[in-house]
């Protein structure tokens, strides 16, 4: 939404735009009262002109309280949504290296809090500079956000009768991953400890050098992950964009399913409610 209400008093709108800019300027210093300072001289002058001081606080300290509240609230929300990324950095560095520049680039534009971190994987991809850990940070962000996305996803009716031509889709509560390392087990280990624990302790062992196929899915209110075979992954992947059995098996590498009990797969997938005939 980029329009303004045609009846908004122009003075009110001007004040609100200014207020918003001041409180979303990153925190650089905290004063002796624990309030973030307003460092920009122009904003400082504007504060004096616009905000009434009181006996204890100056004009810029009073708006500084809102600045503090804005950043603390959004840091807290991002830390909740990205527990793996948070533990890769610890509290302070997460705020400085990730949350602050991310929110500067992608300020929230909706009341739906679950969307706050939606662009973080893209932000890491486009803006995170340290090449040594960029891939890990990117996938950590992707995986963390997948947990949020699946929790809030709607769930469609379960598919009951499947024939060769039935169009099958994955439920919106399911997401597939093909990774070069066992990041889900790695994440589980990280989450066992407090955010700053890993700053002073060696990271857990990360299994890598082969492909790991994982399905992340919602089981009532819990998001769970499960390792699957490459064949299961490929077949489920075909359903991600919608496919009939006939289409899915058309170019499927036969060697992968030579000894597989495909009927049992479908039974399990149905029991877990991973399949639907409705497109998300």
């Amino acid at each position: 939404m980029s329009k303004i209400d045609p009846k908004v008093p122009i003075g009110l709108y001007t004040l609100q735009k200014w207020f918003g800019k001041v409180i979303t300027t990153p925190i650089t210093n905290i004063d002796e009262k624990g309030i973030p300072t307003i460092d920009d001289e122009k904003y400082k002058e504007d504060s004096k002109r616009l905000i009434t001081p009181n006996q204890f606080l100056s004009s810029d300290q009073r708006i500084g309280i809102y600045k503090m509240q804005y950043w603390l609230r959004l840091f807290e929300l991002l830390k909740e949504d990205f527990p793996f990324v948070l533990r890769l950095f610890g509290d302070d560095l997460f705020e400085e290296k990730i949350a602050t520049p991310y929110l500067m680039k992608y300020p929230s534009d909706t009341w739906e809090l679950e969307s706050l971190g939606e662009m973080l994987p893209k932000w890491v991809e486009d803006n995170y500079l340290d090449k040594t850990d960029k891939k890990l940070i990117y996938y950590a962000a992707v995986i963390d956000f997948a947990y949020i996305k699946l929790f809030f996803a709607p769930e469609f009716d379960q598919i009951l009768n499947i024939n060769d031509k039935t169009k099958i889709y994955l439920q919106p509560t399911v997401k597939l991953f093909e990774l070069d390392a066992d990041l889900f087990s790695f994440r589980d280990k990280f989450l066992e400890k407090d955010p700053n624990y890993w700053l002073e302790n060696p990271f857990p062992k990360l299994s890598k050098n082969r492909k790991f196929y994982t399905i992340l899915y919602r089981d009532y209110s819990k998001i769970k992950h499960l390792k699957i075979s490459k064949a299961e992954y490929l077949l489920l992947k075909a359903f991600e964009t919608g496919s009939s059995l006939e289409e899915a098996f058309q170019n499927f590498p036969e060697r992968l399913i030579k000894n597989a009990n495909i009927e049992l797969w479908f039974k399990n997938w149905s029991e877990n409610n991973w399949l639907t005939n409705k497109k998300a």
């Binding site: 209400d5 003075g11 009110l12 609100q16 009073r62 959004l74 300020p107 739906e112 996803a153 709607p154």
Partner: protein
């Protein structure tokens, strides 16, 4: 006065429903009068979230309280948001819907906060018109709550209470009075809480909020993470009889204690309601 307002019931004493308390509530099914939910937390299709709400609705009256309306914001009223709010209201059968007298976004940026408005005649007219539209759209009584504030504007032409009272009366809507917010703002802006509530149209109050706050020495912050302080109970004991007796709710949003203890804190309100009983006799 708005016809819908006459049928608003006094629900008794309630607590803000928070996920941290779900398991305790579902196991013990406490005999609490009612719950208030943050509307936005349930305006989605997530099955676990909706299931939890349905479990609550099966046993309790639920009232919707929102935080994102931005009634004084510069962007157009968000009717997609209002549609979702109304859809939820059909499910909850909420007897009223409340939000805050504030703003929280400009086009392109949402601040997720309850930001203060300048108390001017122009702002008032603008908010009144928008509040009327929201009330018409929602079709259940709509109330605006006074917020805690940490800054005021040099362009202010009137007191917060004059602004608040006039918005409520001119828009012909209801009042949701937060007595903790009165106290927090009275300290931050150096006024007597009595000055605030003595001139409000309290006959329009349909709900009172109670909460704890944080005292940071030179200023107070409305943190909802603590017990209600004595000074706030004092304000409540004076305001409650003036409203004629309205639904009362304790908000607790961080540093959670057990549900049982949260409820006990809310029930302290009964002690301060005795004045009304005396008056009624």
């Amino acid at each position: 006065m708005n016809k819908m307002m006459k049928n608003v019931p006094n629900l008794g004493i309630g607590v803000g429903l928070r996920p941290a308390h779900y398991s305790e509530i579902f196991v013990t099914l406490p005999k609490i009068d009612w719950f208030e939910i943050i509307s936005e937390n349930y305006m989605n299709d997530s099955i676990p979230i909706q299931d939890n709400l349905e479990k609550i609705l099966a046993h309790y009256t639920v009232v919707q309280h929102g935080v994102s309306l931005s009634i004084g914001g510069p962007d157009p009223i968000d009717f997609e948001y209002l549609k979702k709010l109304k859809k939820l209201a059909k499910k909850t059968k909420t007897p009223w819907i409340s939000d805050h007298l504030c703003w929280g976004r400009v086009p392109g940026s949402h601040y997720h906060d309850l930001l203060p408005l300048p108390y001017t005649k122009k702002t008032m007219d603008y908010v009144v018109e928008r509040a009327k539209i929201v009330q018409d759209f929602l079709e259940v009584p709509f109330a605006l709550e006074n917020v805690s504030s940490y800054a005021s504007f040099k362009e202010d032409e009137m007191s917060e209470w004059d602004f608040y009272g006039e918005v409520i009366e001119k828009a012909d809507i209801c009042m949701m009075l937060d007595v903790n917010n009165i106290y927090v703002s009275s300290k931050n802006h150096n006024f007597d809480p009595k000055d605030y509530y003595k001139s409000l149209p309290l006959e329009r109050a349909i709900q009172i909020h109670l909460a704890g706050h944080s005292n940071l020495g030179d200023y107070l912050i409305d943190t909802h993470d603590n017990y209600v302080c004595d000074e706030v109970w004092d304000i409540y004991s004076e305001v409650y009889p003036l409203t004629g007796g309205v639904s009362t709710l304790l908000e607790w949003d961080a540093n959670f204690i057990s549900f049982e203890d949260t409820w006990k804190e809310a029930l302290k309100a009964k002690k301060f309601q005795k004045d009304l009983k005396t008056c009624q006799k």
